[in-house]
Symmetry: C2
DNA sequence: CTGATATATATCGGTGGCCGATATATAGTG
DNA sequence: CACTATATATCGGCCACCGATATATATCAG
């Protein structure tokens, strides 16, 4: 692998579908909800992501409903999708851990008292 | 914000520079090391990332050295860079938390015993 | 000496994902 | 009648990624 696993929009869609099947517009709302309102998913992004995830077998069509004259197309996570989400979560968690370790080391270095000595010379 | 903060390659470069200044090739090795050998950073990616991070004031040139006839250009993290890395780590951690919560909920649903009732019909 | 490998820099162009804009349709509201 | 909300979908510009390529020095094998 190079640097990238699945993309962040894809990760968020998988997350939104992890607990139950949702339709497109519902995913948009769920992503906004689960991020505490910090992340909005543009619909122009959503359908491309959904197509790619479908092609990779990570999500699949669950059912179609008509609510008040409007079509709702529901998607659900596959087992492979759940596995991919879990694996990506582990990958990201490892990145976060590494960053925080080093950030902590940096903080310590910048606060290191003079008597611990050494210095650049 | 839409979905994306800083990119993953940028995140990894910032992480590699968090504890001490490093030169390009050294960053490549450090990313591989801190990821346990799972992530390799292509040099074609590195310099673009470094340029962008410099432009955003998240990293800056530390010094230049000549070791055995080869030029080494060292970069260091700025305060803004440390802040950006910390913020992005928090963002990713929140994503991971959300994914794992829902994944756990899904697992529970799929193992729910029959006597809890309902079911599809 | 020649070729291959490792270190070290940098550029370029193809590919692909993101997302704003746009289109279509129904329902409710001012 | 216009506007907003819900709901679908497509298209195209932009930009980041990264493989390929180029340049240069040091070392080692044949």
């Amino acid at each position: 692998m190079t640097a990238r696993g699945i993309t962040e929009p894809a990760f968020l869609v998988l997350t939104a579908l992890a607990d139950e099947a949702r339709h497109g517009y519902g995913i948009v709302g769920e992503v906004e909800r689960l991020s505490g309102g910090r992340i909005r998913m543009p619909v122009g992004t959503l359908y491309g992501v959904l197509d790619r995830l479908s092609g990779d077998g990570l999500v699949e069509l669950d059912r179609e409903e008509v609510q008040q004259g409007r079509l709702r197309r529901y998607y659900r996570l596959t087992e492979a999708g759940a596995g991919a989400l879990d694996a990506e979560a582990a990958r990201l968690a490892a990145n976060v851990r590494a960053a925080r370790e080093r950030l902590r080391a940096r903080g310590l270095a910048r606060h290191r008292p003079a008597w611990e000595g050494g210095g650049p010379a």
